[in-house]
Subunit: 371 residues, 2 copies
Amino acid sequence: MNNDVFLRALLREPTEHTPIWLMRQAGRYLPEYNATRKRAGSFLALCKAPELACEVTLQPLERWPLDAAILFSDILTVPDAMGLGLYFADGEGPKFERPVRDEAAVARLAVPDPNVELRYVMDGVSTIRRALNGRVPLIGFSGSPWTLACYMVEGGGSDDFRQVKSMLYKRPDLMHRMLAVTADAVRDYLNAQIDAGAQAVMIFDTWGGILPDGHYQTFSLGYIRRVLEGLRLEREERAPDGSVRRVRVPSIVFTKGGGLWLEDIAASGCDAVGLDWTVNLGQARARVGDRVALQGNLDPMILMADGPQIQAEAIKTLESWGAPQPGQGHVFNLGHGISQFTPPESVTALVEAVHSYSREQRRRGAAASGL
Amino acid sequence: MNNDVFLRALLREPTEHTPIWLMRQAGRYLPEYNATRKRAGSFLALCKAPELACEVTLQPLERWPLDAAILFSDILTVPDAMGLGLYFADGEGPKFERPVRDEAAVARLAVPDPNVELRYVMDGVSTIRRALNGRVPLIGFSGSPWTLACYMVEGGGSDDFRQVKSMLYKRPDLMHRMLAVTADAVRDYLNAQIDAGAQAVMIFDTWGGILPDGHYQTFSLGYIRRVLEGLRLEREERAPDGSVRRVRVPSIVFTKGGGLWLEDIAASGCDAVGLDWTVNLGQARARVGDRVALQGNLDPMILMADGPQIQAEAIKTLESWGAPQPGQGHVFNLGHGISQFTPPESVTALVEAVHSYSREQRRRGAAASGL
């Protein structure tokens, strides 16, 4: 691979700079993305067309020297494959035609075959891998079982998560059954992505942070652990000379609003923990030690500011994590998906600041240890 | 006063039971509230009519032996008094006719005289005090400067807080000027409520949790501290025999999503810290020691469950805080306002569980220390 800095940082191996990629880096803030989406006809059509999904996945890499690509897809493809009927109402976000609201609906849930019902995703992964041709690693992903359950029960987004929490508090047995099926679906889905070529996997637990302490550990993290335990996190890679070697596929768990539970997440079996911007990165590093790498955690809204301000905040984030040490790793990212209103030149300033300042940190560290 | 358990818990003095009140306890889940609101014509008219505000403030106390009353009002009365033109669009939440978006608008901001522009609130406070007649203490409140600034800049609610964060990151000088004026307005507003009879004050920092670590301390907590420093937290109370004594007016700071910053909040000068349900209450207690009392932290959605489930969660919360100790205090509450969809009988189960189980905890503690 030409650039494996991202994978090495996740595995807490030394790197020449701090790798950076951005959640939702292929998205509406890019005019070229909007052009492809228009050609596809809709967001969902774009997700379901492997060649077009590949095209938008690569677009941000044409602009910036990002250290990873992430599969262009949506976390709701899994419940869609479970028969819930995903659609996007104009300006309203995702919806399901058949939300899961009662015992009968939960009983009907079954684990889809990702190589059949989600074939288009696997075709996307292998298409992107071929197109990347070793340039940077490709990240596969899924929503966490709990986060998927939120959408499956609510039937879309929610302000108060009343339906899903009502089921959890009134019928924990139903919620456990639903999460168990969903966790197995997520496990099979991520394993299929790994088989198709994903070189790292990330679990987006967007709504774990709405749960009370205690319930988070049981209903969100517990099922993330179940997924991680079932993943085949090694893959065979064939080198140009035909030889085959086994490589590790690192996993990242990101619970938005999960900063208080960092130690629990770090003990879930993942290689890295994603953090949002409410977390002090230096304190987080001290809390996890060398158990996991960390990913994050700039507020995406900082990209609304001017270049020098963005650079200053990027440097503050790098300084907060601190000096690189063997056995620890940091992947720079935002603490949430990039906003559709982001001026692309803000990303230019950010990527340049992270790469150059993190190289400078390493030079300083090397000079200091040479004294 | 007939029942000062709430005030004593805030001041970390021994109490016979754990006091309980509920954020938004006078609200749409109560049929009698909806009837009064209908008579008033609108939510805003209800806020602005002292007699009707008094009526709804007392309604939950007629139903349950709650340990405190809270002034019925809205956090946006302050920016309204600053001339921004508060209104409520049908089903859309609060809006401002004149949001604060540029330097000129920030320059125009001035501190209102709470006894003039917010006279109706002070009349409400004194009316409620008379009607309560010492039954339970009355809590006054305000939004935090940062939370008010969020609404003032966005012009209403927001999903991403892009406008207010853009101002913060691009023009921190403007944001500081805005927060300074707003903090002085909040200080004067709370002091006027204390003068009118409020026996405790609470600062609702609903949106502090959207800020990055570091910026929270500067832009939200820093201005909360400025408010607290300017409060006259002692008031003169005249006893039936005509004698006058000085009593403490405890202050509570509640940053939703602020669990990571608990130590910082506890050092802000407040008497108590409000917690949402993501925080482990026992761990929080260990983190603050005897510096402040704690208030919280049940997920309001637990009230969608059945009576025995609600009681079990209430007991879990009490057990999580642990055995009462001299110099520490706990006020039971939800971690956010009660939902409009709450069945009133759920509150019956909750209040009964908190009162009876917390008495039981004290009996057990007394028996154990008697051995």
